[in-house]
Every structure is written in C-alpha cells, then in structure tokens.
Homo-oligomer: 195 residues x 2
Amino acid sequence: MRTRDEHKASVIREKAISMIVNEGFDGMSMQKLAKSAGVSPATLYIYYRNREDMLEQLYEFVQTAFANAALKEFDPTMNFEKGLWVQWKNRMRFIEECPHYFRFFEQFRNSPQINRSSIGMVAFKDNMHQFVSNAVKRGEIRKVEPEIFWSLAYGSFYSLLKFHLQQRTMMNPDFKVTDAKMKQLLNMVVKSLKP
Amino acid sequence: MRTRDEHKASVIREKAISMIVNEGFDGMSMQKLAKSAGVSPATLYIYYRNREDMLEQLYEFVQTAFANAALKEFDPTMNFEKGLWVQWKNRMRFIEECPHYFRFFEQFRNSPQINRSSIGMVAFKDNMHQFVSNAVKRGEIRKVEPEIFWSLAYGSFYSLLKFHLQQRTMMNPDFKVTDAKMKQLLNMVVKSLKP
DNA sequence: AATATAAATGAATGTTCGTTCACTTTTGAG
DNA sequence: CTCAAAAGTGAACGAACATTCATTTATATT
C-alpha cells in the first residue's frame, strides 16, 4: 500500500495556519486551502475528518509545540526565579521563531471554537503545580490562590509578549523585547510574590 | 419621511454580537442575522455598508462602551492605588453585566479583523498617561517603561478577568471574583511598582 | 390630507462554501 | 513482478454565502 506524504501533510498544516492568521477563521476555506497547498480539496479529507476536526487538530498541534518549547530545560525543582525565567525565555524565543503559531494560538483561545475542542495540558499543569508548591515550601514565594499566581506570573508576561508581537507587526518590524526588559518585569513579579 | 427604528438597530446589534460570541465570525452570516433579528437581509444594508463595515462598527461600539464604563468616576488626579481600583472595579462590573460584550471584544482583538479596523482610544490613553505620570511625580510608584507598567497593571488584571469569565461559562455559572481577591491582586501589583 | 423621502422588504443574483464519489495513481508487502 | 490497499484526484452536489434591486410601507413636514 501507499504511504502518506508527510511533507504534504505539513504543507497543508502550515498553509492552513497562515491562512487563519492572515484572514481569520472565515477566511480559511477548504477549497482555498487546497489550492494554496497544491492538492485536491478531496485530499484534505484524507488528513482530516472535516473542517472542524482540522481546526481542532491544528490547535492541538500548536498547543503541544508551545508547551514543549516552554518546558525545555525546565525542571519543577528549580528555584522560583530561575524556573520562571527559563519558561519566559523559552516562550519568548518560541514566538520569535514562530509568531504565526502564537497568533493562531491566541486567536483560537479567544474564539468560541475553543469550547468545541478538548483542552489537554494535564502534564503541563502537574509540572507547574509541583514547581509552585516547591517554591512555597522553600519560602521563596508566599502562598496565594492559583488565579492570583497565574495572573501575576503569566498574565503580565503574556501581556508583554502580545505587546511585543503587536509592535513587531504594526509599526516596527525590528522591535524586540530585550532580556533586560524581561528581567525587569520578572524582578517586579517576584517582588510582588515575596513572602 | 420615515425615521429609523432605533430599537430595531439595537436588536440587530445585539443579535450580531451574540451570534459572533457563540458561533464565531464564520458563524455570523448576514442572512442568519437577518432572520434572528426579524428583519429582511436588505435591511441590514441600511444600517451598515457591508459585512466588514458592520464588524468594524460593532467593535467601535463595544470598545467605546467598555472604555466609558472603565472611566466612570475616575479622575487622573486620583492617587494611584485608588485610581487603579476604581478602574478595575468598573471593568469587572462591566463584564459582570455584559459578558458577551467582553467576549466579543477579546475575540475581535485577537483576530486579523483588528488590522482592518482603526483603533481609537486616544482620549483614554491621554487620561491614563496623566494618571501614571502624576503618580510617579507624587512618588507613589516608580517610573517604569510603558509596556512594563501596562503588563503589570492591566495584563495581570485582564488575566484575572478572563479566568473569571472562563470559570463562569465552563463549569461554575455562579463563580464570582470577589472584591477581596481583586484587592489582593491590587496590593501585589502596587507592591511590585513601589519605588 | 397630500407629498416627498427614507426605511423596509422579499425574491433573486452569481459566487463560494463544505463535502462526496467514482476514479486513477502510487507503493509496500508477498 | 503482482496486486491489494491506501493516497490522491477533479468534477460535481446542494446549501449557504454577501449583496442588489424593484417595490412597498411608514411618517415628518407642508
């Protein structure tokens, strides 16, 4: 029997993501996608059950890629400041390298599409839970409710990420959030979480 | 001559927003909208030049409503902690009362549609600039770059807002972010900004 | 009451949508 | 080399799409 062309699969995936990032969910149609990927519309239905299944799989793919990137060289036993820095750096590098993935991710997360998709991330959340409770035990940060912690440690950082991306696409293509600026924010976040 | 039915106009607006919030941009079609608002498709083109113009006007409407709500009883000469609290409280109340507006706002902001729309908010930004520089002058907070300030003072709060909304729609319809929780976050943000 | 004018309409336009199907091509396993 | 089976196709389906237009309806002004 014939084997699936993995190169073709990734071309379809990338074209779909670009199309959604540039034209929105309503701008990505199966026929346009087929044309832009250089395949027959019917071929798309070999890779995906239907349009909705395709969107779900794309999200799952990007989410996994992002989570894996974020946890590179991360270890939940690291001290708090170091561990958060590693993750932030990883995330920033990821959107530096794949801005369209990040935009797709954000677009999807804020759309009703997200309600029709299952959300994984279990392993990731386990990892983070350990990381935080270790830091609390060691007295590096004080114990706060999860939503407060996430808002400070990730909400503020994501805000900086988005500012980064917006600057880069809207006005200043060379714009870059420097390590110094990230460190400054990190210090302030750590200060706010001090026991 | 005949006068425009303002009630009809608002029905159309609300139905359009609900439809987008529940089914996404690709789920809102002019014909479905007309049917759900109880008007002819052609009527929509009296109120809006075309679909894109409609989306832009909806966004402008919601953005203005949100900004006005946020600034109620706010004054840029307030001390920092008080001023930030007033705004946060206002914003939280707004999404309590109009969660669909907030969801529409977020969905729009994260979509490519935003690039085709003009972004106003000039008066608002002026107001905020004064507020922050007053607080710095008075020594209530230290001077930091704008993106750092926004990330901390708004990024973290928005994160809490979104958590709020997500909880409420996904699992626990009675979920409410209490004043105590907001105050806790506020204190931590203020602490991080202390000179 | 008459009239001018904008609001409002329903049916129709041509286009594009997601998806299917009968068919051809390719290729790994025997 | 053979051939079963999956990959891949192009044309076609009805449905839904955004938008238009010739009319009808309502009303503020006179």
